[in-house]
Amino acid sequence: MIDSEFDRRDFLKVLGWGGAAVALSGCGNTSIEDGKETIVSYVQAKDYVIPGVAVYFNSTCAQCDAGCSITGKIREGRVLKLEGNPESPINKGRLCGLGQASVQHHYNPDRVREPLLRQGDKGEAISWEKAYGLINEKLSGVKGEEIAFITGDVSGHQKVLLGNYMDSLGSKNHFVYEAAAPAVVRAANLKAYGVEMPRYRIDKAKVVLSFGADFLGTWVSPVHFAQQYAAFRKGVDGQRGVLIQAESKMTLTGANADRWLAVRPGTEGILALGIINALGIATGDVAQLVKDYDKARVSRDTGVEPSHIDKIAAILRLRSPSLVLAGSAAEGYVHGMQNAEAINLLNYVLGNVGKTIESPVSVPFPQLAPSKGNTASLKRLNDDLAAGKYKVLFNIATNPVFTAPASYKFGDSMAKAGFKVAFAHYLDETALQADLVLPLDSEMEDWGTHVPEYLTETAQINIQQPLMERLHANTRGMGDILLALVKQRKPEEYKAFDDYYGYLRGAMLQNKGALGGAEKDDDNFWNDTLSNGIVKLSGPSSALSGKADVAGLKLPAPREADKEYPLRLIASVTSNLRDGRHTNQPWIQESPDPLTTIVWDSWIEMHPKKAAELGIVEGDIVKVTSRTGSISAQVYVFPGIHPEAVSIPIGRGHEAMGRYAKGYGVNPFSIMDSVFESTTGELAMHETNVNIAKTGQRVIVVKDEGPVGGKQMGARIAVSRSTDQVDLSKEV
């Protein structure tokens, strides 16, 4: 696909003269003099630049941790559009909306373009030499344990290089933080199956019973699961898969369920045990455990009708294998772990383990495997910072000031660190509090390798390569920065590497054999690797070793209604917004939320019954108050939520981060109580209780659906029928 001498730095040179950039501006005022250093004639253009013809390069989507492979469409040196790379077994050529929007991350007009040094309230643009010098200076005399790093999920060679740099500093304080990670489920899985993330086979299951796992929208690897889901609906042996979703707030997955159960918040585990009881096939310890969970009690506790429990038990008995999933809705409580364990127990009872819960493959290079984020680490970091433990804090592209519950007062804690360096794409809430902001290349300008947490058929290393020349002269790749920093400490060891590209190429070639390139010469191997965008490996399968363990499994009785704060706040994760790091991508802002169709703003979901009780209608601005604080936002009356809960999506409510994010909506983290899951110490995201007061203001909710909402008024628009009225075997 590309010749070996190829120098991507030429891309922009092409861009500067190629003129594709004038699509909008017509005759701009670019003179030849202005751009003389970057003129490259098409007469001598590189063979990967064919004027008017698109070329495609493979890379990896960095918008979430699922690790889908992308194919970038490039013309005249500009990346235009991202498509899925069909070679990757994770996304098989498909891409979610969020993934596609990453071109707007790359081209975002609000990116940081220069290293910025804090001078009072302002940032002064400085050179990279000065920035590196400053870091060196600030680190001198600082002990390793006084230095901390906070990052999101990190894997591949960047993780290795970061580790090396931390070693050179003598620091072991690496906090891996993700605001919306399935950390409790990982712990429960480890206990039940011996692995944190088994391979889920939705496609092999005949029934999927999901307790709030939004696998079609936000959970773990949504594009991959959506493809499995498509196969599952087509059916195993011609029998269409049945999806049952139990959760307090309808997720995208819940919206696609054959049966959606509105469970009282926090009682997911009770429902799971109730179903085991109703199945009547459990023996021993398990039977003992569930014997009190009879239908009447479970129905009373969870709000699920007894007839539904019967029907679910019946279909689970009848159709095997099935698959039971514990998702974020179940884990967001103090007893989240108990919930998840109870749910996992169902898989044992149903005999799914080993059938639809398979042992995962793993990458044969443990040093490249991902460090997985959670929220407990942020709590620890915050406590340490507040205690004044750190003199220097490095933040690699995370935004805890935005996503930490307000009660942490993370900003104040952070201020106690003497010198704060933020490697950032934007001046987000956290970068604004740093002393030194170092502008990063976008994922479309940078080199890297990634190993996704959730692997599918094969182990794979994903390649990230620049799809075009960097847009701004003074941004740098994180790998290059780490290399420069580690060279400050160990110049001898790293002197062979001019840049991170060289390091990466060297590192990959070193393991050429193990990476499946034994027969190829270096250049061929490397070119094939870049061309494929992924390296598929035959990795070992880590065996499932857990067991149906009921020891210590004790679910609390449903919460009594809190008089002062009677409603549960579900801070929901939506497929568009995730944790809010991409809110400044206009396609994402304007992409209607699938369930409410709301755009560009936050909303509070409230059940019609509750709304009627409180005299609230759509568009009313209400004040939501928790023990921690209060925020005001518009109400969207939504039938897909339990009447005892209200829900506000996370991801909006930025006070910084540029024109497309700042000032749109509210941030539920700002009223979230600090309550933690009892076993893992994870933040219990659904444990905040609130009350609601009308403010008297009302707005028109900006949404895609019309005023009649989702009613079809008798017209044959979106039609459905039940399985007994259709013969799917006749279909193509």
């Binding site: 235009l80 498909r94 498509a230 054959d258 009613k711």
Partner: protein
């Protein structure tokens, strides 16, 4: 310029309908969308923004109903009277249905929206004078008008964002109508390539952007006159005939057990998009 020319010219205008003596040959582009597979994720809609240079209009204009999404994912609730939507929602991707007898076409004063030989409802931006009659007459309300000059509107494509524009697709100025084109630029490229090689476009050779991104493969697209194509097979299996305003299977007593249907078919628009009904399990 003669009257003969006018008459000849005119006689050709509505030439390409699926009538017996003028069959679609060699192409009739058509789609089918499986609502049981569609999960309402919006990936297709974003893909359309990326492929077709759709402007992001912002909150205020969105509120005024001036959004430009050629593909919109509609969300319906089926269980109006129940406490909870306990069989989920219904998602329906809606875009121009590329009607064979398009109500939008006949009313356009300048012929800016037309039927093409390969069965598309085309939109000629240069010719459009912005009367909006076509939109008034489109039963599906899938035509989007450029109420503003988006290319010069603040923060629609500010510097650098404009680099992402697809050079194969015009950036529309103010005052013209637009809508889903079935990604005509991709179709033309494929048709031209095929023609150069003396063959017709093969099944799978061309995808629309929405189809390409869809994680569940809910959207099929292809040549309805090619018996090898998936859409041909699907339409055939579902007994949906392009040139009918009521399908034979629907006239059967008790209805049919096939899921294929077209929206507002009885208006005789002869839409080129077939939907497959969503299915819900009766046992739970």
């Amino acid at each position: 310029m003669s009257v003969t020319n006018l008459l000849d010219n005119w006689a050709e205008v509505r030439h390409f309908h699926p009538i017996d003596d003028k069959p679609h040959d060699p192409y009739k582009w058509a789609m089918s969308i499986d609502l049981d597979a569609c999960i309402g994720c919006n990936a297709c809609a974003v893909a359309c923004y990326a492929e077709n240079n759709l402007p992001v209009v912002g909150r205020e204009k969105f509120q005024h109903g001036q959004v430009m999404h050629w593909m919109r994912i509609e969300r319906y609730w089926n269980e109006d009277d129940r406490e909870f939507p306990d069989q989920g929602a219904e998602f329906l991707p809606m875009m121009c249905q590329q009607c064979e007898a398009a109500p939008c076409e006949t009313v356009c004063p300048v012929g800016a929206t037309n039927h093409t030989q390969d069965g598309l409802n085309s939109q000629i931006y240069n010719r459009c004078i912005g009367s909006r009659y076509c939109s008034a007459n489109c039963p599906y309300k899938v035509r989007y008008f450029n109420w503003y000059d988006y290319p010069t509107t603040d923060n629609v494509w500010p510097a650098e964002m404009n680099y992402q524009l697809n050079p194969d697709v015009t950036v529309r100025g103010k005052g013209v109508m637009e809508k889903c084109t079935f990604c005509v630029q991709r179709l033309r490229a494929a048709e031209v390539t095929a023609k150069g090689e003396g063959r017709i476009v093969r099944e799978g050779e061309v995808q629309t952007a929405c189809q390409q991104s869809c994680p569940t493969n809910a959207i099929s697209f292809g040549n309805l006159v090619d018996p090898e194509s998936r859409v041909y097979k699907q339409w055939k299996a579902q007994q949906v005939d392009l040139a009918k305003d009521e399908q034979e299977k629907d006239k059967q007593e008790g209805g049919s057990d096939l899921r294929g249907y077209r929206i507002l078919e009885d208006l005789r628009t002869y839409p080129s998009v077939m939907y497959l009904e969503r299915v819900r399990e009766s046992a739970v």
